[in-house]
Every structure is written in structure tokens, then in C-alpha cells.
Amino acid sequence: MIDSLLAYLDTLFLVLFAGGALVGAVLMLVLRAPMRVALALIATMVCLAAIYGLLGVHFIAAFQVLIYVGAVMVFMVYAIMLLDVRDPSFVGRFSRLLVPGVAGALALLGVLVYAAWTDLPTLPEGSRTAAFGLREFSATFLNEYWLHFELVSILLVAAVVAAIAVIGVNRGERG
């Protein structure tokens, strides 16, 4: 009784947060001010983090909030506050590609969802094992994927150097 109720609640929350993520994504497309778009994206990311938590991968949920919402989106909000110019892109939100873009996106979504619903093998109930935890993830990450880890650190250093170079070029031009 309690178990079925909990499973029902689990599914209910999953559908709820999935709907919240989709609503946030649609709001991103229709809202005018970049700051509100950023807030809608943050809401979508928090809903996705909740979905990750419901799926049992709590460390990815934590990093979703810490890295995406905490670092990337705060950076984005700073940039919006720095650059919030009222220009033509504020008056007219959409480019000329609105109609073909919507048609293309709908066609893409239709094809992808059709493929997902016909080709995905459905697992038999109860065959799913317990979710892997942080311990298994860390061991695999640093034993098998250490090269990727190092490459990623090089990528981050390159990104920082490139960012400084871009700003430096501008400084040089202005004298």
C-alpha cells in the first residue's frame, strides 16, 4: 500500500517536474527581456535537477545546481546586467526565420519523438538495478576516464586563456 503510493508519488513528481522544465523552455522563447529568459532557464535547470534527484543520481543533481545555476547562469546574469541595451532585438523578439524555424523545429521534434517511441526497447518492470552512487562514479571516473579528465583541464585552461586574449585584443585596439 505504502510502496505503491510512493511509486505513484514518484511518477507524479517526475511528470510535474518534466512539465515544469517544458514550460520554462517555452517561456524562454516567448519572453522579451533577457533577464526573464535567464530566470526561465534557471527554472528549467532546477526542474531538471529535481528530475535527476528523482532518478537517483543525486550527485549530478547537485552539480547541475552548483555548476549550471550557480556558475554558468550567474555569469550570464552578470553579462545581461552589463549589456542590457534596449535595441531592435528588444522591440522585435523574433527574426525573419520565425515561420520556417517553427515548422522545422516541429518536424524535427515529430521525427525524433516518433523514433524514440517506436525504437526504444522498454525494460521489463523490476529489472532496473539500484542507481549507481558517487563511489562507483568516482572510481570509474578516475580509473578509466583519467585521460578525459586531464584533457578537460587543458580545455578549461585554453578557454581561460582565450577569454583573456579576447579581452586583451580589445584593450590593445583602444590603446
Binding site: T11, A25, V37, Y68, V85, D87, A131, L156
Partner: protein
């Protein structure tokens, strides 16, 4: 409805909405945020498949995507700052210097 199919459909919808945003919006910063939305959709599908097959490879890939997203923003924001300083607008249709 299966949980996996629901989550994969949501991730595909997020990806398509992000792509639509990149195509139809005019503001550069909004386009950047829509690219983040596409990455988030991919992340959701990776986590779903990692859960389904009970492998950690998907989770590792999600971590690498986190880092790539952070690096992308770290480079993209200074470029947008430069563009906005040169053209005094965030409207993408003003950036046509490479058009010839």
C-alpha cells in the same frame, strides 16, 4: 507510459525548443541561453540512458558536458561583450561584417 520514454521525449523537446530559440530569437544573449537549453536536453537523455543501462559512462559524459558548457560560456561572453561594444547592439542582424 514508460518512464524512460517520457524522459527521452522531454529531452528531445528541450533540444528542439533550444534549437528553435537559436534560430528565431534575435538577441545574442538569448541565443546563448537557448544553446545551454540544448545542452541540458542532451544531458537529460544521457542521464536517462545511463540509468537504464546502469553504466557510469553516461554520467561521466554528463560531467564532461558540464565542463564544455562552462568553457563555452567563458569564451562566448567576452566575444559578445566585444561585439556589443563595437556595434552598440545585441541584435544579431547587425553583425554582418563577414557577409561581404
Amino acid at each position: 507510459m514508460d518512464k524512460v520514454q517520457l524522459l527521452v521525449s522531454v529531452s528531445l523537446a528541450l533540444f528542439a525548443l533550444g534549437l528553435l530559440g537559436v534560430i528565431v530569437r534575435r538577441n545574442v544573449l538569448v541565443m546563448l541561453m537557448c544553446m545551454e537549453l540544448m545542452l541540458n536536453g542532451v544531458n537529460l537523455s544521457l542521464v536517462t540512458f545511463a540509468q537504464q543501462t546502469d553504466s557510469t559512462a553516461g554520467a561521466v559524459l554528463v560531467f564532461l558536458i558540464f565542463v564544455v558548457a562552462a568553457a563555452e560560456i567563458a569564451i562566448a561572453i567576452p566575444i559578445v561583450l566585444l561585439l556589443a561594444r563595437n556595434k552598440h547592439t545585441l541584435d544579431l542582424s547587425a553583425y554582418t561584417d563577414l557577409k561581404g
